[in-house]
């Protein structure tokens, strides 16, 4: 590992995992933490518990803002464990000189998203720091959810499952990249930032046999699938053609040399579903606008345990690797 922290260590990929295991897990080591799930399952399996800090530039982007993101992110981590978001905390670190009007705008969008999840903020903290100490505003939220269905775990994906993505992938990452760099496209590209509990609730109420779920945030779909392949000791074989990617995201990827499956999502998740329920799960997801492009993208085998294979429509295959380093645009 490097002597100083580098940006690549926050990418959700290899370097990020190394930092977490060599520094945090080493000292905090315990059975619950080491399960490495989206949210910790505590209180004898009754509650899900998670936390997330949010920093995004720009703080207002196409399709959302840091406030919406801070509620969606934490609530989605709970939802991915089959838990209904209930109580939350909110801690804000804000830079001297920040506009009060913008702060209220952020808080209003948090409130709106809380309502969608049926959760409430029950305690919080506010720190104001001198100009330059943070980039405008950092928000941390912590959430507790009540587990509605137990046993959902990224450690138990098997050959009986197929892999589904809930919608078109890579929209959040592509939008932030475009907004941050001031790239102007004549397109409808928007972040997919959304709360996923309503979708999960419907899947559960329809009795769909869910093995695992994970929202494909930093590191994108590739990071989720690689973690699952490693944790469950299986091979995930993805049919490239079936991955839903919008023309806008594909275009940005073409220009900059990115892969859509490495880009972050904030309202798109990956599911491992028992094969017999897969078609029904897709149909349920498609009843939501946020799931309208849901698609079965992969099967689970033992071809290369611990790895993800990408199968091309012309019969060749390659690894779908974990992203490494910062996402940097290609040169020529």
């Amino acid at each position: 590992m490097t002597k100083n922290i580098v940006l690549a260590q926050g990418n959700g990929g290899e370097e990020n995992a190394e930092l977490i295991s060599k520094i945090f897990y080493k000292h905090f080591k315990n059975e619950i933490l080491e399960k490495s799930e989206d949210a910790a399952i505590i209180d004898g399996g009754r509650l899900a518990f998670t936390t997330d800090s949010f920093t995004v530039s720009p703080i207002f982007f196409d399709g959302g803002d840091i406030g919406k993101l801070s509620i969606c992110g934490t609530c989605n981590d709970l939802a991915m464990m089959g838990a209904k978001p209930t109580y939350m905390t909110c801690a804000v670190i804000v830079e001297e000189g920040f506009s009060v009007e913008e702060l209220e705008k952020i808080v209003r969008s948090m409130k709106k998203e809380l309502e969608i999840n049926g959760a409430v903020i029950v305690c919080g903290d506010t720190k104001v720091v001198p100009r330059g100490s943070v980039d405008k505003i950092f928000i941390n939220t912590t959430g507790v959810g009540v587990v509605q269905k137990s046993g959902i775990s990224s450690n138990s994906v098997s050959e009986e499952d197929v892999i589904i993505v809930s919608n078109e992938i890579g929209k959040h990452g592509a939008t932030i990249f475009a907004n941050r760099e001031g790239m102007e496209f004549s397109s409808n590209l928007q972040s997919d930032c959304t709360s996923l509990w309503p979708l999960v609730e419907k899947l559960l109420s329809e009795g769909i046999a869910i093995t695992a779920m994970r929202d494909a945030t930093r590191g994108g779909v590739a990071a989720v699938l690689n973690e699952w392949a490693k944790q469950s000791k299986v091979c995930i074989e993805v049919n490239e053609e079936t991955i839903p990617v919008s023309d806008e995201v594909r275009g940005i990827c073409e220009i900059l040399g990115f892969e859509a499956y490495n880009l972050a999502n904030e309202g798109t998740f990956v599911l491992a579903i028992k094969r017999s329920d897969a078609q029904r799960a897709v149909e349920v997801l498609k009843t939501f606008e946020e799931g309208s492009k849901a698609s079965i993208i992969a099967s689970v085998t033992h071809q290369h345990d611990g790895r993800v294979l990408l199968l091309s429509p012309w019969g060749s295959k390659r690894f779908m690797d974990l992203p490494t380093g910062e996402l940097l645009p290609r040169i020529c």
């Binding site: 490097t2 100083n4 922290i5 580098v6 940006l7 690549a8 290899e14 370097e15 760099e181 023309d247 594909r250 275009g251 073409e254 220009i255 900059l256 040399g257 790895r307 294979l309 091309s312 429509p313 012309w314 019969g315 060749s316 295959k317 390659r318 690894f319 690797d321 490494t324 380093g325 910062e326 940097l328 645009p329 290609r330 040169i331 020529c332």
Partner: protein, 381 residues
């Protein structure tokens, strides 16, 4: 009529049916060859296409790829990266460069390490972005660490052109532009240390085509004419590469060695004359440029002409820049890989001590390097 959309530029060139058709055509022609042919794709972009789309899996066994040295990030020697690092650490300097140059380790670390230590290092999409950075930071010296082949050289020239015309005082250049035909010649002409002969193994070249958009296909004429080695200038989509291979094998079977253009939608024989004039105006050749993994290659590098020395960071910071020679890592066999004597998996440190996150040799450095592509995509068969 609806306007052309971005996807129209690549959709057809990834058509599975077209790819499969070429697969059949190639198989039929390759059977007639009666020997193995070694095709070098010089450009890292082509290496990337071949590995990403799994094209080796579609080809008969007697078609072998040698992955060439055409990745501007990979070939940058540690000496030059140390220059970038040193410049970045200077007070009042903002160092700008392109894409994944930021990740490449020199002897003290990479530019991203310099940034973690407080240096202001930024990547830009276009050298022209330097104008905005310079305007926003009038008290800083903006140094553009310019890299790349003929493809990116005109952009550096265009930036200097604007800097001079607008009399901008705080933009400087550290030039690392290199040229393709010279290194291709070197690959054929150089004496191999292991067998002490000139036994090169290259039967044909896939010509770097974005280079030719600027310089024209004419720069490769020497290879069929002088060396009797066919060149096909190809695009970067899987259909482009498959068609180029087909064209090449036909040349072998018909006993020809010609310069052909597959990438006709962008490449002409003459290229972009305006860009060539701009390069000519501001740049001149240097006698030797050291390539990582290849050593010194005559006439393969460019520098600013002496008249533009006031803009040349290499001149301005002469006193602080390091000039010690640094050897390539002794376990690294990049030189052999680039010459076609070895494949990435044959290297003892491939995937263990040498990985994309901690590369030892040039071929692992950028995603367009052969080792990085093998590591990333697995070269599955």
């Amino acid at each position: 009529m609806s306007s052309l959309e971005l996807k129209d530029l690549y959709d057809g060139f990834r058509n599975p049916e077209v790819i499969k058709s070429f697969q059949k055509l190639i198989a039929a022609e390759a059977e007639k060859l009666g020997r193995t042919v070694n095709i070098m794709e010089v450009c890292g972009g082509h290496t990337h296409t071949i590995m990403k789309y799994g094209l080796t899996q579609l080809l008969p066994e007697n078609i072998n790829f040698i992955h060439g040295p055409g990745c501007p990030v990979c070939i940058m020697p540690k000496e030059r990266i140390d220059h970038a690092y040193t410049l970045a650490m200077q007070e009042d300097v903002i160092l700008l460069t392109l894409g994944d140059m930021i990740k490449v380790p020199g002897s003290h670390g990479s530019l991203q390490d310099a940034r973690a230590k407080g240096a202001d290092v930024r990547y830009v999409y276009s050298p022209m972005d330097a104008l905005k950075v310079a305007e926003e930071n009038p008290t800083k010296k903006i140094i553009f660490f310019a890299i790349g082949f003929e493809t990116t050289t005109p952009m550096s020239a265009a930036l200097l052109d604007v800097v001079i015309k607008r009399d901008i005082k705080n933009i400087f250049f550290h030039i690392n532009h290199v040229t393709v035909p010279e290194v291709m010649k070197e690959l054929i002409d150089s004496r191999d240390e292991h067998v002490n002969s000139y036994d090169h193994r290259i039967d044909a070249f896939i010509g770097p085509s974005h280079v030719s958009v600027i310089s024209g296909s004419k720069i490769y004429a020497v290879f069929p004419e002088h060396y009797r080695i066919p060149v096909v200038v190809a695009g970067f989509e899987p259909v482009d590469v498959m068609e180029a291979i087909y064209m090449m094998i036909k040349q072998f079977n018909e006993g020809r060695s010609d310069l052909e253009i597959q990438y006709k939608r962008l490449v002409s024989q003459e290229g972009n004359l305006k860009a060539q004039a701009l390069i000519e105006k501001y740049f001149e050749k240097v006698d030797l440029f050291k390539w990582r993994g290849m050593g010194n290659v005559p006439n393969s590098g460019l520098k600013l002409r002496d008249a533009f020395a006031p803009y040349d960071a290499e001149v301005l910071y002469k006193e602080v820049l390091p000039y010690d020679e640094i050897d390539d890592h002794k376990l690294c066999i990049c030189g052999d890989i680039l010459r076609g004597f070895a494949k990435p998996q044959q290297c003892s440190v491939f995937g263990t001590a040498c990985k994309p996150s901690s590369p030892l040799g040039s071929c692992m450095v950028s995603s367009e390097g052969a080792c990085a592509a093998y590591y990333k995509y697995g070269n599955l068969l």
